[in-house]
Amino acid sequence: MTDLKLPELGENIAQGTVTKILVKTGDAIKKGQNILELETDKAVLEVPSSADGIVSEILIKSGAVVKVGQPIFKLEGVVASPKGEATLEKSTNSIEIASSQKSAPRNDTGISSASTSVGIQDLTLPALGENIAKGTVTKILVKVGDSLKKGQNILEIETDKAVLEVPSTTEGLVKEILIKTGAVVLVGQAIFKIEGGVSAAAITAPVEKVTTPSAKTVSSVEIASSQQNASRKDTPITTSIPVRKDIPAAPSVRLLARELGIDIGQVPGSGPNGRISSEDVKAYCKALNTSRPAGGGVVAASHPLPNFSKWGSVRREPMNNVRKKTAEHLSYAWNTIPHVTQFDKVDITELEKLRKSISGTSKKISVTPFIIKVIAAAMKKFPQFNSSVDIATQEIIYKDYVNIGVAVDTDRGLIVPVLKNVDQMTILQISDELTAMAERARLRKTTIEEMQGGCFTISNLGGIGGTFFTPIVNWPEVAILGVSRGSLEPIYTDGHFNPRLMLPLSLSYDHRIVDGADGARFLRWVCEAIQQPFLLDLNK
């Protein structure tokens, strides 16, 4: 009897809540067959089995939180994964879940390409977290000849942000160690050679296999970050960390603190008379990272809540994952970004005529694809709206791709799927993709990947009503456009009041990088473009 463990689910996903168990005890399951439905931070994933066998025991239940690598079923008659099939197993369990939902036919190509990688393979450094492109190896926790388990810690890596333990993304025998302590390793770089392993590149390779526009996004992000690294080499980092005298810490410890971006003067020493060890620095760093909530330091718990039941009956409900994530993300954005919101109204009388003329009975085109198209053009015209701020390095990251997120209201809360490379899509294609995306979001089928890589967000509340509102910028983006409901207004033109359909627009932007005048210019440009819809080429 063998344990079937929860496989890797994707980048930054360590756990999920079981929403549905799709098999029962006694079922014969096949590799690749969906066995669980799992809710993670933003997406509901179907988890396929990584082995054949008969379910003899189910170790989890619906509603339970399950961690990656945790045993979920006991299986009998497990077909031990021979080398050849190992990769197939792997390719079906992580990111491919997402794409298999999107398009079933891709499976064939996925299998054939995956099954070619047999025997000794490279284990690459998995993604360590957002904005972490590399790290310095501080410890290698395995040696040649060790047999690795997935999830087992194999390396200790120091990044700019923290000292991290890196878990293996695969199983197999360590044949060769390609790095050494002190070396700087890039995410995706080969670190070990593994024999008899499950396809090593659990996280990186499958992403590359997906050849939809999203793959382009991923690679361009990588380019952006590598360019950033290159430029950093030329301009030395003048750290603002002061030189401290009389600090009871060895030179190596002081250097470590500097590398981690920590002021050694703040680190409490555990040694005799306050001597600071490297462990103290690491512990301090860890504590900083955990105590610094993603919500930018505003801790809700700072003020106690009143006893609401004094005024009547109340009930408490746990936040679902989407709500938690939304709360965390938006308070971080709100606390990090100095917001300014610019309002304007755009005359969409002409646009409405055009929109209605091309909307058939079977196909309805909303105003959103037009706005998306105009925004994409505006972002090229005003590149600071397609940027991110790296305050740590005092750099601005400009993106050469245009991905626009669209906020979708679902029964579980707000979901923002991202339309990739919209500048290369026609309005009709955008419309189709938007419809499909919104549908997937409502069916909880949106994948993590589909929600990443956005450059700008549009939130259209026009279907509900209202005039203006102040949307919160979707960090690390720098601007968001709020669209409200259009209404007929008397507009004075040519000596008369004419009824015109006016659409209120609200543009919030990051004032650190966008000046007020630029905000006004951007929104004016957008309005003027929308007002003259005939300049928009439907097929471009």
Binding site: I241, V243, I247, A250, P251, G261, P272, N273, R275
Partner: protein, 471 residues
């Protein structure tokens, strides 16, 4: 113009060549501009190394003389000055030649000549053969070092030496006046004394070796009084004139009373000045202080982001080992590493006889800063090893934070103090407390035990010293 070179180092002293070599080892394309044929700088050509060669010779003479005290009598030595000079030169050329080979092995572009900045990205190199070349660079490191300071309005005379001339060992004068009681004057004065000169020292301040704690310099002073013809403290040099035998010097003592003496040679060793002139720094954004030092930040980057400065030109203390360390910091900073020049202790060593060495906080500095410290001393008279050397003129002291018991400074005077100070540097850098030094076993019989016993003394119970209990 061709693509800019990644790094050019101007001046190949111990700071410059350390920086250039590290940069090359890290994969950078590196050029050096240096006046001499080989790297080495003042340290190797006209400083640390030749002076130590001469001091070694002097020490042998001194020890042979001293051996009489325990029954070993040598006849007076015959000094072949040409052979001695040649030997000193061979030491220098061996070392500098070796550095030249190391530079070539690393494929470092070596320009023999002088550099000046045209702008923040371009150097003009006046080569030794008279031709000029422009070199564009991404980063430059200024490591041009320093030169002996001069007294204004002195007559031009071959009988007035600076340290360079003294190291050339042209002759051994019968009478030598050393102007300035700093480490250079004391070291060279010691050497010439052993070679047979009658040496006098004149110093403006009330003590020798400014910066060193008085109890340490006193030990040297006592011995120097026996060696030197005259030590004139708080005395000014008013005038120097050429005279039949050499130079006549007019002094004024602290009461202002003037007097004259005649010497064959006068060695002026009143300090050193940074070489920040004639570098075209005005064509860059580099800022120079009124004293001639280049302003740098913790990464040794100047106010011009492309240009770094290390060593003597970047500020006191003007020590070779500080320069090398700064060179490595600068290179790692250029590489994008987060580093800073943040030593807790820079050792200073005076190679007199006895040697004086100190690091970290001195007692003087502690008093000035009003820091609560405990001074813990161990006189070498209680050291078995010092007795076997018949050199009990020594003292080891620790400057300890009274509250945290951390070792903040170490000072040593005595034979071999220069080598012993390394333990002090290590202790301070590692944040050691007095107990760490006390509890580390030191080999017997060595002079290093004096450090352990100083630490014991902090706790009031040094083995070889009896302290009556306070009532």
């Amino acid at each position: 113009m061709s693509t800019p070179i990644q790094l050019v180092v101007i001046g190949a002293g111990p700071g410059g060549y350390a920086a250039a070599f590290l940069a090359s080892d890290l994969g950078m394309e590196v050029a050096i501009v240096e006046k001499e044929t080989n790297p080495g700088g003042v340290c190797l050509y006209r400083g640390c190394i030749p002076s130590k060669a001469l001091l070694h010779a002097a020490k042998i003479i001194s020890e042979a003389k001293h051996a009489e005290a325990f029954g070993i009598d040598y006849p007076a030595p015959k000094i072949d000055i040409n052979k001695l000079r040649d030997w000193k030169k061979s030491v220098v050329s061996k070392l500098t030649g070796g550095l030249g080979q190391l530079a070539r092995a690393r494929k470092i572009k070596y320009f023999q000549g002088e550099a000046s900045f045209i702008n923040s990205n371009t150097l003009k190199i006046k080569k030794a053969d008279g031709s000029t070349e422009e070199l564009s660079f991404k980063h430059a490191i200024l490591a041009t070092g320093s030169r002996p300071a001069v007294i204004p309005n002195l007559p031009k005379s071959a009988n007035i030496w600076d340290s360079t001339a003294a190291l050339d060992l042209g002759d051994i004068p019968e009478n030598l006046l050393v102007v300035g009681g700093g480490y250079i004057g004391m070291e060279l004065g010691t050497a010439y004394h052993e070679f047979g000169s009658k040496v006098s020292v004149v110093e403006m301040t009330p003590g020798l070796l400014a910066g060193a704690d008085r109890d340490l310099s006193d030990v040297l002073f006592k011995r120097a009084k026996g060696m030197f013809a005259k030590i004139m403290l708080e005395t000014k040099v008013l005038k120097m004139e050429e005279s039949p035998k050499g130079i006549t010097v007019t002094f004024a003592d602290k009461e202002g009373k003037e007097f004259k003496e005649e010497y064959n040679k006068v060695l002026v060793s009143i300090g050193r000045k940074p070489n920040s002139e004639n570098l075209g720094l005005e064509n860059t954004k580099v800022k120079v202080t009124p004293r001639g030092f280049v302003e740098v930040n913790d990464q040794r980057q100047t106010t011009d982001p492309n240009i770094y400065a290390i060593g003597d030109i970047a500020g006191d203390p003007m020590l070779a080992h500080k320069a090398s360390h700064e060179g490595r910091v600068a290179i790692e900073s250029i590489e994008g590493k987060r580093v800073a020049f943040e030593p807790q202790a820079i050792p200073a060593v005076v190679f007199t006889d006895p040697e004086i060495a100190w690091c970290g906080l001195t007692e003087l500095e502690a008093a000035k800063a009003g820091r609560e410290v405990t001074i813990s001393k161990f006189p070498w008279a209680a050291s078995g090893r010092a007795l076997t050397l018949d050199r009990t003129d020594g003292l080891t002291k620790l400057i300890i934070d009274s509250k945290t018991q951390r070792v903040l400074g170490v000072g040593i005077v005595g034979v071999g103090a220069g080598d012993m100070i390394a333990e002090g540097v290590m202790a301070i850098e590692m944040g050691a407390v007095a107990a760490d030094l006390k509890l580390s076993i030191h080999a017997h019989p060595t002079l290093s035990e004096t450090i352990m016993e100083s630490a014991e003394s902090f706790f009031g119970h040094s083995t070889h010293i009896f302290k009556p209990k306070k009532a």
